[in-house]
Amino acid sequence: MWEGITTGLLTAFTPMNLMMVVVGCFAGTFIGMLPGLGPISAIALMIPITYGFDPASGMILMAGVYYGAIFGGSTSSILINAPGVAGTVATAFDGYPMAQQGHAGKALAIAAVSSFSGGTIGAILLLVAAPALAKVALSFQSSDYMALMVLGLTAVSAFTAPGQVLKALIATVIGLMISTVGTDPSAGVQRFTFGSLDLVDGVSFLLLAMATFALSEALMAVLKRDEVSEAAARATAGDLGSMRVTREEVREIIPVIGRSSILGFFVGVLPGAGATIASFLAYGAERTFASAKEKLKFGKGSIRGLAAPETANNAACTGSFVPLLTLGIPGSGTTAVMLGALISYGVQPGPRLFQNNPDVFWAVIISMYLGNVILLILNLPLIPYIARLLALPRQILIPLILFFSLIGVYLVSFNTFDIHMMAGFALAAIILRLLDFPMAPLILGFILGDMIEDNLRRALTISDGSIAFMWERPLTAVIFGLTILTLLAPLVRIIRQRRGAMLSGEGG
């Protein structure tokens, strides 16, 4: 193995490949920042360019672009509440409120450092254990995935402020319902399409996220002008571009980063899960472990709520290279594109890759580490400038947000129907928000709904229609157990508090 790592180091550190990492990271960050263009489009743009390269250089460039795009994606989530990639939705939960409170620079810096740490810890785990982890990747079956997605859904509880529980649940159900539109994932039957060709593929994540997050947020700013101008004044008064993080805050996020990167990495290793699930799980887990006081901050600008998903997201992206490189199984759309590229180079990813093409295998892993370092160096000095974007006058910023979110969606589909649908969703979202419904559970339900259904139906087919797998398969049962614990934990605490209050009442 050490021989392989040396080969990899030598390959990754050639001037040509170093340049590839830098160019890839830079291009990726830029593409990723535009709402609408995620890692898949970024990598797809790179494929024709990489045809002439040798496989190692091509993969290094693509890995750089991949990282850059994920990194850039968190910027638009934090600054304008426009998560262009599902993996950065959870970043917007707390990152955007932080930016609204005038801490945009700090939020971006925490995101950058969390991404770096998650990616780096992931790369080290990959380096040490990739071949051994192939077994882990295959340990999950459909029923386990289904349970894992349900556990992810418990992250909704972060949006259940007192008196809001019912509204958060209703929003989740609306999200789940929207996810059923389109071609059913197992039988191929069309549902709720009303015979329209435009609805056959269902509602795209990007469209719904842009409509309910970015568009509705920008339009709400117009509706609630006074409140917003107050917030804007506060934001400009506070030092928007400052990246200063206090020592207590550093102490607070270090354990978060540690936990979330390990969680994220292992979820990423599972071909049926990926970065989005990883970020939700990390967000939910962090909130479960938080103290009652800290819990209230979640969804309103908690640094732990920002660091956890951002770390997990990047660690999971690194983890997803385990099934790709060791089994030839792509866990996400992005790694599927990379698999296609590798095969067209004549490289067959699989258990023999690190024997047959050790240069490709190790160079990719080492360039991931390198890519993370370069991204950090590239981005930290830019943060104060990027953050100042929010200091733009509202009458310029809001039209810009509207423009970029609409164009972002249109450029993916070239379908004017999508624009109409987006406007409809934005309008509905505004009404719901005026009635105090949180939007995050809706998008959470939408993202997880598809996956829960897909895995549940598969599990049912495999067990010939019996639901016994829910308790008979140990892994599934354990994950369901965790879900129940997560849901019951606050109840236990409430009961204990009441009892405590009663006891102290008796004493006094």
Binding site: S142, A187, G188, G328
Partner: protein, 328 residues
């Protein structure tokens, strides 16, 4: 992408004008030499099978100097229906466009995913094909197709097939055809759908199912690596020594073809010119390299023969799907 479309439009107008001029000058004989550029319309996203075929063909054609340049446009949606609809609607300015497609155009027009069929387009040529493979884990007790059938006879639910498409689509149809050919009830085939071939492979390897049904090109890499063992292939003769379904008693021969279509209403000469160009492409060394790398089989079939093949396939698949209860 936008500029791409604009360029196409402009080129189509120019092409149309010069075509008209040529018609007037030499009385309507358009030769293959006059196709200078091709715009490839890809009904799916980057990195998929359609994408690889179209970009591969464009690359070979340009590299070998058969055309001067190729441009590409990915338009995914409605299982390919969006691109077909677009090609039909804008037919008069798509004279220079070729759309790639494959067996799903037949399946999905039958299941009414989209309201079009190959008859609404001009079939140019079938170019390549990928046979279907049935595979097991290397340590499986199932050693041959015969073992599958034996188990199926005892309990159809004991042999489940993992595949990368929805129920009633290709990966499901091949094991169903094979069981039907041996006189068993095709409706009893237990098929477990995954959202991609790779996920189906993961399903097999995780022990969720006993069998995998997928494209041969996708299965041959893992087979050579010893991850899986292919027990049968749907070709007419053995590939790499792997026995065919036919020799194991299931009289089935099936290839998921890929080919090219042009807009409706292009002239017969031009369609012939495109078909000729694709034939020349397949005779080059560059193509041979690409084909071997991707595990494709050459299955060239031009114009009218292609259309006849499509009609035959539509009937066969339609009959089977009706029998399976996917069509009424």
């Amino acid at each position: 992408m936008n500029s791409n479309i604009n360029r196409t439009t402009r080129r189509a107008i120019l092409g149309g004008a010069s075509g008209l001029a040529a018609l007037m000058l030499i009385g309507g004989s358009v030769s293959a030499a006059e196709i200078k550029e091709i715009h490839f319309l890809i009904p799916g996203g980057a990195g998929g099978g359609w994408d690889g075929t179209a970009r591969g063909a464009g690359m070979v054609l340009s590299k070998e100097g058969l055309i001067e340049g190729a441009s590409y446009e990915n338009m995914s949606g409605a299982g390919g229906g969006k691109a077909i609809g677009y090609l039909i609607e804008t037919a008069e300015r798509q004279q220079g466009t070729l759309m790639v497609n494959s067996t799903p155009i037949v399946v999905r027009s039958l299941t009414k995913v989209f309201p079009f069929s190959f008859r609404d387009l001009t079939p140019i040529a079938r170019v390549i094909g990928d046979y279907q493979a049935i595979a097991v884990r290397p340590d499986s007790d199932i050693k041959s197709w015969g073992d599958v059938v034996d188990r199926f006879k005892k309990d159809p639910r004991s042999v489940k097939f993992a595949g990368g498409s929805v129920r009633g689509d290709l990966d499901h149809l091949v094991p169903a055809m094979a069981m039907k050919a041996m006189g068993h009830d095709a409706r009893k085939v237990a098929y477990v759908p995954y959202d991609a071939g790779g996920k189906a492979l993961a399903g097999l390897l995780s022990g969720e199912t006993e069998l995998l049904t997928t494209g041969f090109g996708e299965a041959i890499g893992p087979h050579r690596d010893g991850q899986i063992r292919i027990i049968a292939v749907s070709s007419d003769r053995r590939i790499d020594g792997i026995p065919t379904l036919k020799e194991q008693g299931a009289d089935v021969e099936f290839a998921n073809w890929r080919g090219f279509f042009a807009a409706p209403g292009i002239s017969g000469e031009q369609a012939k010119a495109y078909a000729g160009l694709l034939k020349k492409m397949q005779e080059t060394g560059t193509w041979e390299d690409l084909r071997a790398k991707n595990g494709w089989q050459n299955l060239y079939l031009p114009g009218d023969q292609f259309a006849a093949f499509l009609a035959k396939e539509e009937k066969e698949i339609g009959d089977l799907m009706r029998e399976l209860g996917f069509l009424k």
